[in-house]
């Protein structure tokens, strides 16, 4: 009987295993204390920052928790805003924006600041600005790399499809081949990262350094957003998305409907932290 007990004790560890499905342990993003949003209170021309093709008057500069910057510029009199993205680093409290120049301001708290902007090939300019410091209170507030996109289509038939990354042309071709109506003018872009910031900005950054920026709020795991534009021409049935964490990934799930089509669906992004 002792032998049997010994065998049982030996087998017991094999009978049970622990799964870590809901892993939410992520290290803090690298630029947490530097992140926030600058809003110039005066005209801030960016015509000399040609490396990032930024031109026009700057409307905002988003500095994300993970070292991504997004510059919004008003490109016409109708108020159309163009967003460009890039990486930034911080040295001695001076923000170095790759391909654009440097920013210097008091980043200790939210409020009006004296922003000194030095373009790559230009003289320093002083511009009054407002700085909204990131509240940085949630694991989700960081830049996430798009690893996988799962699209569920509910039309003539119901099926799901997995795509590596999020390449609009690949997805559109697949949908067309399988009998779905897709607008002809799909842009040749991929979503490279999705950022959620502590200043309530949701940023879809694309492979050509362009971006879409919109506001969101997070209540528990439900994300409510105000979406104005998306190159794939999705209009969303609801303004809510759900965030979950699984196996060290962030799962962002959005219900959507393709414009001018009876097809509706669900888009789920599998995201991994960039830092």
């Amino acid at each position: 009987m002792k032998k049997i007990s010994f065998v049982l004790v030996f087998l017991l560890p094999l009978l049970f295993s622990c799964d870590s499905l809901n892993d939410t342990h992520f290290k803090d993003p690298a630029f947490l204390q530097y992140s926030g949003r600058l809003t110039p209170m005066d005209i801030m021309p960016f015509t000399k920052a040609t490396a990032q093709a930024v031109s026009g008057s700057v409307t905002s500069i988003e500095l994300t928790e993970s070292g991504l910057f997004v510059i919004g510029t008003m490109i016409d009199e109708n108020g159309t805003i163009n967003y460009r993205t890039g990486r930034y680093s911080v040295q001695d409290n001076i923000y170095l924006l790759t391909g654009v120049g440097s920013l210097s301001f008091n980043n200790s708290a939210s409020g009006n600041v004296n922003l000194i902007f030095t373009p790559l090939e230009g003289e320093p300019q002083q511009i009054p600005a407002n700085f909204l410091k990131s509240k940085s209170t949630n694991t989700a507030f960081r830049t996430w790399k798009v690893e996988k996109t799962r699209i569920t289509v509910r039309g003539f038939w119901v099926a799901s499809a997995d795509f590596k990354g999020c390449d609009f042309l690949e997805i559109a071709e697949f949908l067309r081949n399988n009998g779905n109506k897709v607008p002809p003018e799909v842009p040749a872009l991929s979503v490279s990262t999705i950022s959620l910031t502590g200043t309530d900005s949701m940023i879809f950054a694309y492979t050509d350094s362009s971006a879409d920026v919109n506001e969101f709020s997070l209540n528990g795991n439900v994300l409510t957003y105000d979406w104005k534009d998306l190159p794939l021409s999705f209009t969303f049935e609801s303004d809510k998305a759900v965030i979950e964490y699984m196996d060290g990934k962030c799962i962002l799930s959005i219900d959507g409907r393709i414009q001018n089509s009876t097809t509706s669906g669900n888009v789920t992004f599998v995201l991994s932290p960039t830092d």
């Binding site: 009987m1 049997i4 065998v7 049982l8 087998l11 094999l14 009978l15 049970f16 295993s17 622990c18 799964d19 996988k148 799962r150 569920t152 289509v153 003539f156 038939w157 099926a159 799901s160 499809a161 997995d162 795509f163 697949f174 081949n177 399988n178 009998g179 779905n180 699984m246 196996d247 060290g248 990934k249 799962i251 789920t268 599998v270």
Partner: protein, 252 residues
């Protein structure tokens, strides 16, 4: 905490005979429509033998249907089609606990008991599927059942009185031979019977959002016309005829 039924089955099968007040014990190996089996047997008096064992099919019994037509693009039936091979094989992987009841000192016996463990009865794989099948599939609770590198894996699960992927399949049969012989070191037995399969269902290998894979049950109409054919096939699978032969060596 996640229970691993396979280990539980193996542990039970290995330990159960020790709890019986065994007079003699034997070790056996067998081959049959329940797979390749190993058994530990104990005589419980003159007329009853307890058989605890484990069997696995190892794909020994298999077959291939060479021309299964599938659409080139799964969502577009008018977009042309191709034919692909479907390989099927017995998928048993389960334990059993059976009682041989001898009506006298003869070799003839009735057998009652149960098979339990993995519910997979028949596993199959569609190969050389077009590229779209690596992308599209059927979402079951977050697991996408689709092909990987052109191969889509599925199975028919028969749970009997069990649930989901864990089967409890009652068995009744007759046989000739004794699992434990007091007068000889070696013995031989042939058995014929049937396992109750319950309602067999189609399962597929699904890939989770984060890359985990597991077998998941497919909704009844998920595969369109193929679902109808599968239903016609599985409705005859109420019982599984079990024919097996065993060779035993008495331990003490």
């Amino acid at each position: 905490m996640h229970l691993r039924p396979h280990f539980l089955v193996i542990a039970l099968v290995a330990l159960l005979p020790f709890h019986a007040e065994a007079q003699h014990m034997s070790l056996g190996a067998g081959l049959g429509t329940d797979g390749v089996t190993v058994e530990l047997n104990a005589s419980m008096g003159r007329y009853v033998h307890l058989r605890a064992g484990y069997g696995k099919a190892f794909g020994i019994i298999n077959g291939t249907i060479s021309k299964i037509p599938v659409p080139l693009h799964p969502g577009n039936p008018d977009g042309g089609s191709v034919t692909v091979p479907l390989k099927l094989q017995l998928g048993m992987n389960e334990g059993h606990l059976l009682f041989n009841i001898h009506p006298g000192d003869c070799a003839f016996h009735f057998t009652v008991g149960t098979y339990f463990g993995n519910a997979c009865l028949l596993s199959g794989a569609l190969s050389y599927l077009p590229a779209d099948y690596n992308t599209v599939g059927i979402d079951v609770d977050g697991y996408l059942v689709k092909a990987q590198d052109g191969v889509m894996k599925g199975a028919i699960y028969a749970p009997g009185f069990g649930k989901g992927a864990f089967a409890v399949k009652p068995y009744f049969g007759i046989g000739f031979g004794r699992a434990v012989r007091e007068d000889r070191r070696m013995s031989f037995s042939i058995d014929l019977g049937a396992q109750y399969l319950g309602k067999p269902t189609l399962w597929g290998l699904g890939e989770g959002l984060t890359g985990r894979t597991r077998m998941v049950p497919l909704p009844e109409d998920a595969l369109g016309d193929f679902s109808d054919k599968a239903r016609q096939f599985t409705r005859y699978l109420v019982v599984w005829p079990t024919i097996s032969a065993h060779f035993y060596v008495r331990l003490f």
